[in-house]
Symmetry: C3
Subunit: 313 residues, 3 copies
């Protein structure tokens, strides 16, 4: 299997073999993060532009560090101070950055499809770092990487995604990745946030959390973004925590080897209790470490690298 | 011809041969931007400080990338978060940065003359990235580079600069560069924004756009900064677009080989119609690419580099 | 003497020999700042995270440049745009950054003890860049370095620290460093800001500036942070300048070889007159230069470097 894509825009369009190639390549890069000198020269002399129109220190930092460890030069394009404020369009911004001969654009944007639009404007590569409620492909790849590393496989596993599914790009990308690799995916949360239409994506939909998690191998909790919840569709925070939050009583009724995942930042005491977040079943911090490896792999592959062999493995 | 200046503060004080040396050096650096590895070691170990007191993502990014491609280390000094807010003077800020042994300061400031003041305070080199309504020398150099590349010469060309001349540092620097190299410069716009006093700089002044552009080889459009236009001196946006905007009807009455230029960001439908901005006569995006080459050349020369020969040409 | 600490959290816990080792190492790094190529490869491939929760361009820039000159990769974690705004705790932020395998964290925080807390959360090294009113160890080290360089010694010198002692982390760290190395320290300022309890730290307390500075070898002025002074405890600015500001009349009554120091940014005409700040006894800008050398030394030592010998001296 070799990689032929110039962009990483979504999971939906990837073949299972492509997903696996990213995961295998990421495994090689994870080892780089354990070395004293955590750099490889793969992208030396290449220019990576971080174009985060929505603020995100966490994901931006992960991508910036991934690029730096590949020896690329990173330019952080600060949308706050930018020409966007003067009314410039995304297309004009993209073409101007393109004129600077940047090699890779990493874009986060509140509009679904913005990365695909950008990919049609520029000669360089584009990586989607989250577009509206559409997709967040590197999050799904790092989640899948983590599950595979811990469980040895994806196929046949019961994975529960729990929270605000309706507006979650993390959920959408995870659904695509997991179902392509053969997992059984159950979506769970309040009925206003987990409509039955998701069954068309090949998932089970449940509004009873205790029922959903009883046979789960993995529980992936989504962040409750209470700063922007729609008042009419969301119960109160306390009510959500009581009905859907992962607490010790609920955890006691799951399989002993269940993995607890969360894309962060976590709301302690809302979607997850502190002791569980910091406990032995939680792989939340390993997800962060794996995110770096997966992003190094993605940047490496779209730049023309050819899988783990190229790293001397 | 060798370069003897420690700073690049304005175009007014440059001899024509100095301007040409920057342009010739920029041509060598433009080729670097086409390579797979877009870096040269010319400024390795040097520290470049980006001191942008006025916000500008576009120009700052161009300078940052120019410095990075010369292998310099770049520190972005964020004026928003800085001691300026605590009432520190430019002189104290400059001397403090100087005490860090920075090699090159790139400064944008709302006060005309700020870069010249800085140059007297510090031992390092200073590049003016725009000072009030005074000068923006690298913009003029990249404009001149683009014209020369497309037309093969500057001398004898008819260049029209169209827009708000009175408050434009882009216009002032272009007037100096173009007249020194022998072009015929016509300034055009509303009479409140293009006073007759500019004739003293060796330009023609016109308030009739159709007349001005009829025999133009180059039309350089300035951005209408409607967010800060003086109400009493400026017509409405719609009125400006109708009277001075470059539309298809107007373009049809120009020479077929006329170059359309704009320093960006453009206001589509105000000073220029979208189809013209994206059309075959527009070199707006090439200006961006050339800006990077010109800034690499400027940084290289003031740091003691000696023209294109030093790059192995 | 070899260095055994993984963190630099305060001066209070350092032995005099450890302070001297940092100063000796800094002397070697100061020479690096005089070279044409101001870089050494000591931290190549290491990741340094600048975690400034309180804004500070000046100190952040100094640390960033120190890390860059040691060839480290620096990630600026922008607290404004970060998950802090979404309510994430310092512990969660720290553990997430830790999961990225950063080697060194440089933290400024408004809460005293935040760096110590961070040091318990992460496997990497932590440098305190200022925590509340507690300590600012690299400031004290650069001040001590400057005094020793100019006076040849610390022991036996009369050092006056003048200003708002009560809320000053600069004062606290200086008191520890200077008394450990045998200086006689006098604290001076309005009685509301310089309580007698400081005598327990081995200092003299004076509320009469003319008396305090008469026999001083060094006067270290603190910045009057009038933007955040407690109204009930602080005289007006004019009254402070008149009663405690260092002006020519006061300076005339000091020893001719007295050193005038200030951590910056200075308030000209408040705690110090302009001519004195720019005059021959002032070492304010040398403090900035020395700060870079001291910070290079600190990063070098906590990363496992073993004193000036390792630099080939």
């Amino acid at each position: 299997m070799t990689w032929h894509r110039r962009h990483l825009l979504d999971i939906e369009s990837l073949a299972p073999e492509e997903i696996l190639l990213v995961l295998d390549t990421a495994r090689a890069f994870k080892a780089v993060g354990q070395r004293a000198i955590k750099k490889v020269p793969a992208l030396r002399g290449k220019t990576v532009v971080n174009l985060f129109i929505e603020p995100s220190t966490r994901t931006r930092t992960s991508f910036e560090l991934a690029a730096v460890r590949l020896s690329a030069d990173v330019i952080n394009f600060n949308a706050e101070a930018s020409s966007f404020k003067k009314g410039e369009t995304l297309k004009d911004t993209a073409r101007n950055l393109e004129a600077l001969n940047a090699d890779i654009f990493i874009i986060r944007h509140s509009a679904a499809g913005a990365p695909h639009f950008l990919a049609r404007c520029v000669a360089g590569s584009v990586v989607n770092a989250g577009d509206g409620a559409h997709e967040h492909p590197t999050q799904a790849l790092l989640d899948t990487f983590t599950i595979r590393e811990k469980k040895g496989r994806i196929a046949g596993l019961n994975v529960v995604i729990l929270g605000d599914i309706l507006y979650s790009r993390v959920a959408r990308s995870n659904i695509w990745a997991l179902t392509k690799l053969g997992a059984h995916v159950t979506l769970c949360g309040p009925s206003t946030l987990v409509p039955r239409t998701f069954e068309q994506l090949g998932c089970r939909v449940s509004h009873n959390v205790d029922d959903a998690i009883a046979s789960a191998d993995v529980i992936n909790l989504l962040r409750i973004q209470h700063e922007r919840q729609r008042k009419t569709m969301f119960p109160g925070i306390g009510e959500y925590a009581s009905l859907f939050g992962l607490n010790q009583a609920r955890l006691a009724r799951t399989r002993p080897e269940v993995l607890i995942m969360h894309p962060g930042p976590i709301n302690r005491g809302v979607e997850i209790d502190s002791e569980i977040a910091d406990g032995g079943r939680s792989v939340i911090l390993e997800q962060v470490t794996n995110g770096l490896a997966v992003r190094m792999a993605a940047l490496f592959l779209i730049n023309g690298g050819q899988g783990p062999q190229a790293l001397g493995e």
